[in-house]
């Protein structure tokens, strides 16, 4: 076992993890943060996206030990029913959620984009969201929601 220290959603944790344990397992199984989804488990779908030190990563491809010393935001740290993040609000408003399995990863990719670039072009939005696959929505409403969230942020 390896001891790691990390900050998840503003809370510091010290965890004992297996050498081969993935970050997604540590988040889901050790911290009970089940909002992070595992789709493919091989870095293709983006369902497991979290923000690590200001960058989106596929948490299925990061070893928990590699996350030692890092600051992580998972979907649980983004907003909640009472005070949703502008991206979450826009998703609900336009109906960008169908089965919802891709949604946590989508919201984190969108949030990270808007944190860095408050006025993204359509192309920049497309590129930022292209690592997150969705089989239900056809992306149409998702891209629209990100645009709305960006516009709201500007005001």
């Amino acid at each position: 076992m390896i001891e790691i220290k990390l900050v998840v959603n503003d809370k510091p944790y010290t965890l004992e993890v297996e050498p081969s344990e993935r970050l997604i397992d540590a988040l889901r199984n050790r911290l009970g943060l089940l909002g992070t989804k595992e789709g493919c488990g091989e870095g293709e779908c983006g369902a497991c996206t979290v923000i690590m030190d200001g960058k989106t990563v596929n948490s299925c491809l990061v070893l928990a030990a590699q996350a030692n010393g890092s600051v992580i935001t998972s979907i649980e740290g983004v907003g909640n029913r009472r005070s949703p993040h502008p991206v979450q609000k826009a998703f609900v408003e336009v109906g960008a959620v169908q089965c919802g399995f891709c949604t946590p990863g989508m919201v984190l990719s969108a949030k990270n984009l808007l944190d860095k670039n408050s006025k993204p072009s359509n192309e920049e939005i497309g590129i930022a969201m292209s690592g997150n696959l969705c089989r239900c929505t056809g992306y149409d409403k998702i891209l629209r929601a990100v645009k709305i969230a960006a516009e709201e942020g500007k005001e």
Partner: protein
């Protein structure tokens, strides 16, 4: 060189299991003394939004708002079977079962209310905006919750169980005659593509999709299903190929079986035709699968229009297009 083309695809699609297979949905309904109602049905909402549709159907019939309806679904311990979420059947089939069940519970409520209001017939009673009363007589009217509460004290409950079976007869294998499906869904889409004649790559620039949905009970969901269907259709036309080798799938991963990403989707304009289906709940019929059907034909025709290459096997990969262009050159 980049060449553009436009193509059209049309579809008709029989919804439901079809061919005489028993296609049954069912629902339990109770109208409560707090002015809400519960719908129990086995139909599973996999994200397409059937629970919202059932809540809307019940609310519309009871003069309530959808938030007043609790839909409890897809629990084999507690809900009556409503078949699979497949065959584009939940809005139509289970929607019909829910509507029948709501109407049954409502009819005993109306009978009770007619008696309470000294109205000769339940035809004279209406449910509106959370109130129940005699049509055209505002003095004889009370909150629905109060009426159900009073009824409850007298031992009356408004509970129902109903099922709905879709019309379908098997097709005669000899003559090909029969009425295997009801209803049919119709759709038509146009795609504009850009084909790169050097690389064989196809970009879909725009898709306009028009679908006959009978009645769009929830327009946001209709748009969502159309965009989702069109995007799967784009994958079907250009990317997705299941490679089998001796019965084994060669590409069982998203790295080798490609599906469209946010960068592959064009602007999708969804339009719907509302030609009420008289056997459907409030005129509605299904849209799930039909939304992806015309996309493939529209894209393949658009490729033909752009570069004169007829693709006859899916997906239309760059290799096939380059081969088609080479064959054309050789004449």
């Amino acid at each position: 060189m980049k060449k553009r083309g436009i193509g059209l695809g049309c579809s008709w699609y029989g919804t439901g299991y079809g061919n005489g297979f028993p296609d049954v949905s069912s629902a339990f309904v109770e109208i409560h003394d707090d002015g809400s109602a519960t719908v129990l049905t086995g139909a599973v909402d996999v994200g397409q939004g059937s629970n919202s549709i059932f809540a809307q159907i019940a609310a519309e019939e009871l003069g309530l708002e959808s938030k007043d309806i609790c839909v409890y679904s897809g629990d084999t311990d507690a809900t009556p079977d409503s078949g699979t979420t497949a065959a584009t059947r939940q809005t139509y089939n289970t929607g019909n079962a829910v509507l029948k069940a709501v109407r049954q519970a409502k009819s005993s409520l109306l009978d009770y209310a007619a008696h309470e209001f000294s109205c000769p017939t339940s035809e004279g009673i209406e449910l509106k905006e959370g109130y129940i009363g005699v049509k055209g007589d505002p003095s004889r009217c009370m909150p629905l919750a109060d009426m159900v509460f009073q009824a409850r004290l007298k031992g009356e409950r408004f509970i129902s169980a109903e099922s709905s079976t879709a019309r379908s007869t098997p097709v005669d294998p000899e003559t090909g005659q029969g009425a295997p499906y009801w209803p049919y869904a119709f759709g038509c889409q146009m795609a504009e593509v850009e084909v790169n004649t050097e690389t064989g790559m196809v970009r879909v620039l725009k898709v306009v999709a028009v679908h006959d949905v009978g009645k769009a009970l929830n327009p946001t969901q209709v748009e969502g299903q159309i965009a989702g269907g069109v995007t799967q259709g784009i994958g079907f036309a250009l990317l997705e190929e299941l490679e089998l080798k001796e019965g084994k799938i060669n590409n069982p991963a998203l790295s080798s079986y490609l599906i469209p990403t946010a960068l592959d989707v064009p602007s999708i304009e969804a339009l719907f035709v509302e030609d009420a289906e008289c056997t459907g709940p409030f005129g509605a019929k299904g849209l799930g699968e039909p939304a992806m059907l015309p996309t493939v034909a529209a894209i393949i025709n658009a490729i033909d229009d752009a570069v004169g290459v007829r693709i006859t096997s899916l997906p239309a990969t760059p290799e096939k297009i380059l081969q088609g262009l080479a064959e054309k050159k050789e004449g």
